[in-house]
């Protein structure tokens, strides 16, 4: 069942790599990697490189290039370094890396700094093991001199280097000065997994449990900076609508409201605090231009999807694209047909922390402070708005209260919104954009609406003989920097290449992708959230049907696996 997972990873990767290319097109003659580094501030890493810092007390701090939004990257990445260094795990700390694609890029996504596709541990594995092993070698070499013992006779445990023969030992703290002067080894050898003492044990615990159990963990929503303004945006009530005119008379009378102005995505209300911004927005009157808006509701759209899927003839405007074609059976099989159809609603990601961002633009400042899932993309989109080089955009990474894909958006929608507002405010004055829960639920970028229609003809043995399967949904990748050339794979991942279809002789798989003005985005396992559900549920239904129709019992265990 690994194939769909690989599909997800590869489509996200393709998107990110090309997104950099799209932004990089602004800078003629630059490769994406060069483009991303132009104007980047020089980072001073210290003796142990960009991923490891060691304090005078010998405690090890690991620099996490990925976001921590619940998945546990803090613990996982810290453990890799601690394992290789044989550092005292209890004293290992972890901090977030700044945005710097050249140093902190994701090695599975073409060097774009970002978190997705379950890649944080996998792409960091060799990188952090080598960094940890190199740091350990530096301490061992320093200890060899200090303890007057051959390096080969030294062992390391809990940040202490020991020489068993002489009984002498030295701590990382004692060795720090001399170890820091040693040239890092050109190549270092990570441990054999058989020698792991930390990874794979239950000693690996969350590094953020204390902060998150005491209310001290810092999320974007918690940022308060001197002179900071808080903004809310009145968004159109229909997707695709634009502000036509607005009356801010009452909004400006709300105590605490500082300014009201239009931005591309709506009308911004800027205030001294969150409650004033909310009151101000409620007092604002906006007239929307709905000429290009999606005015149909979910029920109407679903009806369109159902009719298209059920129609024998092509419905006008509906283009069927094959995702699996194995010629229809001749002569037609005569077994019973099981029909099923499924509806899947638009789904909001609904993380506990609604979308938000803090931006400081102007007066020599160009900084974002927030939970950024793909800092490189957010740098690119910010740079496009303010007219800067992407690497000049500083990003201070914070915890995010969930994401489920929502904070990885090729349009950086809420980030761009915050940047537009902060640019208008100007002078580098900090602006915190706050989306309310209602903004978050109605703000789009949903898992797309989908309808599936299946007709499965069973053979005499009760197994599927001909699998007819139509998927009607919306392309996630269309409108991205990498629109799919053929069929958007994210629409049918989990159905196409399903192990259940491997041994089915005849498969007619078609998909119709409908253009809507409703913004859609990847949501957790992306297409598999509806496609894999349909496969599992349909096989279960066939199993029951087959039991009733035929003495031959179709069981899941009889279905060939992909392995």
């Amino acid at each position: 069942m690994n194939a769909p997972v690989r599909e997800i990873t590869s489509s996200r990767r393709a998107f990110i790599v090309s997104a950099v290319g799209a932004g990089g097109a602004l800078l003629v003659g630059c490769s994406p990697a060069e483009m991303l580094s132009l104007g980047a501030p020089k980072l001073d890493f210290g003796a142990f490189g960009p991923f490891i810092r060691i304090d005078p007390d010998g405690s090890v701090t690991v620099v996490n290039k990925h976001i921590e939004f619940g998945q546990g990257s803090h613990a996982g990445l810290a453990a890799i370094v601690a394992e290789e260094m044989d550092a005292d795990w209890d004293k290992v700390k972890i901090v977030q890396a700044p945005a710097n694609a050249k140093v902190y890029g994701n090695l599975q996504t073409g060097g774009v700094q970002g978190t997705g596709g379950s890649s944080a541990i996998a792409n960091s594995w060799d990188q952090l093991r080598l960094a940890g092993a190199a740091a350990r070698a530096m301490f061992v070499q320093a200890a060899a001199a200090r303890l007057a013992a051959p390096a080969a006779e030294l062992s390391v445990k809990d940040s202490v280097v020991s020489h068993a023969k002489s009984g002498r030992q030295a701590t990382f703290a004692e060795l720090l000065t001399s170890a820091g002067k040693i040239t890092p080894p050109q190549s270092s050898t990570p441990k054999s997994p058989a020698d792991f003492t930390l990874i794979g044990t239950d000693r690996v615990r969350r590094k953020d449990a204390v902060a998150k159990s005491t209310g001290t963990a810092r999320f974007t929503q918690d940022v308060h900076l001197p002179n900071m303004l808080t903004a809310m945006v009145a968004h159109p009530t229909k997707f695709g609508a634009k502000p036509k005119s607005f009356d801010d008379t009452a909004a400006r009378k709300v105590p605490g409201v500082v300014d009201v102005f239009q931005i591309p995505s709506g009308v911004a209300v800027v205030a001294n605090d969150t409650w004033s911004a909310k009151q101000g927005r409620e007092a604002l009157k906006v007239e929307w231009d709905e000429a290009e808006a999606e005015t149909r509701g979910s029920d109407v759209l679903l009806d369109l999807y159902r009719r298209a899927a059920a129609s024998a003839d092509d419905t006008p405007g509906i283009k069927w694209q094959p995702w699996d074609t194995r010629p229809a059976p001749t002569p037609p099989a005569t077994g019973p047909v099981v029909a099923a159809s499924y509806d899947f609603p638009f789904l909001a990601h609904a993380p506990m922390e609604p979308m938000n961002c803090v931006a400081e633009i102007g007066g020599g400042k160009l900084k974002l402070t927030f939970g950024s899932q793909v800092p490189t993309i957010d740098q690119l989109n910010t740079a496009l708005i303010v007219g800067a080089l992407p690497a000049q955009v500083e990003v201070e990474q914070l915890f995010a209260g969930g994401s489920f894909g929502r904070r990885a958006n090729f349009k950086s929608d809420y980030v761009s919104e915050c940047v537009h507002i902060a640019k208008h405010v100007g002078g580098g004055r900090p602006v915190k954009l706050v989306w309310t829960r209602e903004d978050d639920m109605t703000g789009g970028y949903y898992r797309p609406l989908a309808h599936h229609r299946l007709e499965v003809q069973l053979a005499a043995d009760g197994l599927p003989h001909h699998w007819f399967h139509r998927v009607v949904t919306q392309s996630i990748m269309k409108g991205s920097p990498v629109p799919s050339k053929g069929l958007d794979e994210s629409a049918i991942e989990g159905t196409k290449d399903s192990p259940y279809l491997v041994a089915t002789p005849y498969v007619t798989g078609e998909a119709a992708l409908i253009d809507l003005a409703v913004p859609v985005l990847w949501w957790r396992s992306v297409g598999a959230t509806h496609n894999a559900f349909v496969m599992e549920h349909t096989v279960d239904q066939l199993d029951r049907k087959s039991t009733r129709l035929n003495s031959s019992h179709l069981s899941v265990s009889r279905m060939p696996s992909s392995a």
Partner: protein, 151 residues
């Protein structure tokens, strides 16, 4: 307008309209950001605090109604509270955004029901949503803490 609030045992004078929800006074005026904003309409529980010992949603408590009320926030638990210790021991938080509210609801439950059954826990905690789905660990940590609290 100046209002005196008793927060974590101390009287604090705040200047805000009486209809301002306690949530925003805590977060924006007093910079006590442990109490979280998740929905603003009492549907998620992230903003849970104690009002005279009762778990309440601070987004629905206008400060004008809180004269003489003892307010306790996550900061007021001190960090070494048995429920917090149980949370840390079990690695309960994932993204962590809901956990201040979860902990405040759990503390209020145990104050009233020192040895809660699963049903008691479900009932007391049903207003606190965790999008990461940490419910199993939340229940286990409450049971851990129950052993400590009643000692």
């Amino acid at each position: 307008m100046a209002t005196t609030l008793n927060i974590n045992g101390k009287d604090v004078v705040v200047v805000a309209a009486p209809d301002t929800p306690l949530l925003w006074v805590l977060r924006d005026d007093l910079l006590m950001t442990g109490t979280k904003y998740g929905c603003g309409i009492a549907q998620c529980g992230a903003c849970t605090v104690h009002l005279n010992g009762q778990a309440m949603r601070s987004c629905q408590a206008p400060i004008g109604s809180l004269a003489g009320v003892k307010i306790t926030t996550i900061e007021g638990l001190g960090g070494a509270h048995p429920v917090q210790a149980a949370w840390i021991k079990r690695d309960v938080p994932q993204c962590g955004y809901c956990q201040s509210g979860q902990i405040m609801s759990a503390v209020a439950l145990l104050a009233k029901t020192p040895k809660p059954s699963d049903d008691d826990i479900d009932q007391a905690m049903s207003g606190n949503i965790c999008r990461c789905g940490a419910y199993q660990r939340i229940r286990a940590a409450i049971k851990d803490a129950a052993g400590v609290v009643t000692a």
